[in-house]
């Protein structure tokens, strides 16, 4: 068995540290060849000591005696010859260039950076085609869909149904939502994740990003991608086929499986990372409609996806900026949607044909939010 080299972009974050735990259990199949982090030099140094990668990069610093520094280290790590698989777990728009470079270099990209597809879906598809790269999702919903599709052709898929936990505010009234605090938003009922994605789960912006991601990953039109609230987060998504059959992938919420599956796809290897499935303990599994009017970020994001061009990038950038303001205590929960809606209106027809156009739209959206919020 050949051991495959893995680069982890974002190795000190939630996905990165989970991935290293998974890789540590499978050292005969995979070896860590590159690690990059944004700011956490202490943890990065410890990871370097344990996994002995041939490349270490730190984005936030400009100089370091042994590591590569600055944002360029991401692309460098993603394209090294001894790297077979790039786990892109960078948070936000910064991950796009590394995804494109890795695909153009013919790597498998295990994609936890959904912004790559949201911002540059067509560019990513082009890069995968021209470079013979391979894009495998790490999001639990998209991993579930990939597992359900299991190699069947696109023509057999009728509909995708993404599940959403509903976040901490699932059962809050509209009035209560007006008083939601940061602490409330960070109290996710089923998933332990980073702060930005946890807020996105509370607004349902995360589900909008996932719908756009699913559209590009599986080439399914938006009117065949539905979302259903599933408070237990045990069913990770459904695929409906043309004969009416529905497959679902299930399990206790854990990112270990989607990460492992992205590494081993289409094969599966024995692993102990996921607790034994016990349907009785997990019963009941409930499903509710999304309260779209009370959580406007879902429809805003999907509408941006349908609009195409740079609109999804505008949605994503405006959301990133607004969430940063919310995390910093500068705006209230409801302001996130208000600000994003304004940014989308201001740039409703931004072109998205090139990486430069997308990055320009991204920058404009961020500026718009800054100005509007007065921060």
């Amino acid at each position: 068995m050949t051991s495959r080299g893995v680069a982890i972009l974002g190795s000190t974050g939630s996905i990165g540290t989970t991935a290293l735990r998974v890789l540590d259990r499978h050292r005969e199949r995979f070896h860590v060849t590159a690690l990059t982090a944004f700011t956490n030099a202490t943890l990065l140094a410890e990871q370097e000591r344990i996994f002995s990668p041939s490349f270490v990069g730190l984005v936030s610093e400009t100089e370091h005696s042994e590591w590569r520094c600055g944002e360029a280290c991401l692309v460098e790590a993603a394209t090294k010859p001894d790297v077979d698989i790039v786990l892109n777990a960078v948070v936000g728009a910064a991950g796009l260039k590394a995804t494109l470079a890795a695909l153009e270099a013919g790597k498998r990209v295990a994609l936890a950076n959904k912004e790559s597809l949201v911002m540059g879906g067509h560019l990513v598809a082009d890069a995968a085609r021209s470079g013979h790269g391979e894009l495998i999702p790490v999001d639990s919903e998209h991993s579930a869909i990939l597992q359900c599709i299991a190699g069947r052709p696109r023509s057999e898929i009728r509909r995708l149904v993404l599940t959403a936990s509903g976040g901490p505010f699932r059962s809050w009234t509209r009035e209560q939502l007006g008083t939601a605090t940061l602490a409330d938003a960070l109290r996710h009922p089923t998933w332990q994740m980073g702060r930005k994605i946890t807020v996105d789960s509370a607004t349902l912006a995360n589900k909008a990003l996932e719908v756009i991601e699913a559209h590009f990953l599986f080439d399914v039109p938006y009117d065949r991608i539905d979302v259903v609230v599933h408070p237990q987060s045990v069913v990770h998504s459904f695929v409906e086929f043309v004969d009416g059959s529905v497959l679902a992938q299930l399990g206790v919420p854990s990112m270990e499986l989607p990460i492992l599956y992205a590494l081993t796809y289409p094969d599966r290897i024995a692993d102990s990372g996921v607790p034994q499935f016990d349907p009785v303990a997990l019963s009941p599994l409930e499903f509710e409609p999304v309260r779209r009017a009370d959580f406007p970020m879902l429809d805003l994001g999907v509408a941006a996806g349908r609009a195409g061009g740079a609109a999804p990038a505008v949605f994503n950038a405006a959301n990133e900026q607004a969430v940063a303001l919310f995390l910093g205590g500068s705006i209230r929960f409801r302001d996130i949607a208000r600000l994003v809606e304004s940014a989308l209106s201001a740039q409703s027809a931004a072109p998205g044909g090139s990486l430069d156009a997308i990055l320009a739209a991204d920058a404009n959206a961020r500026r718009h939010i800054q100005e509007l919020s007065g921060c």
Copy 2:
């Protein structure tokens, strides 16, 4: 596209009539080449008029001007040169010979006659191997498992979890079960089926037969096949893989999909037979442990499966005979398990190496039940 010839053994029963409804929607892909029925000559004649098969057989009669008669018509229909797929929907032990003959003739057998595998699992496997025949399950649980496995190798499967509706007596106390009538037993909560299988669902004998069937179909040892009660009958079964991931197949209870899938496997074709999947309308999905002590037929059957040899055939034959007595009003609900247990004790080590040995064990078991019940 080549149209494939389909023989339906048991065309006037519940599965048979459903299959003809499915085939009627897909006349460009399939044509009915043979129909056989047990006794219902009127419906068989009507089916002949609509589908114009080249062969019609009636098991219960000895003579008919245009049709083949007697039990031999099953094997004849199953091996005709213009037959590509044999849907074996014969009820009970009578289906085994036709399954073996069809597989030896290199046909695809869409198997609704689970007794074929329960009685002669090894013989069926041998016949498929030597004749290059193909065995595709039609039971909803096994179809679900096949759909979840989707071509992945056996080595990636850790466990099968079959779902059971629990039948009409799921929430009856042990005391209430002592008073259960035939009318109670025939009141199945989620599935419309024939009378024999409906009683088997009430005793859970059906689930024991399905465990044995799954053992032979998917080559999974008995200690890796579990059963969970799922009152809604929406999840048709689960497959747990070695990496801990679980896939499930779901849908409103309907045999149209498993029948269609057995015809088109591994492909899927667009079909309207299954209502659109709506997880909100189907919520909640509940799972409960099986009350094994109160429904002893499950453990009796699985123990017979583990014992091997002709024990599963004894279990099946004793159950068929006991259920016939129950349907005829001669014994009470609880007597079914008592009689079957006695038959298994009397023939605990019956050999099962050959078809003759199995048929002898089958006949002995039936005789044992007759004598014991005094009927």
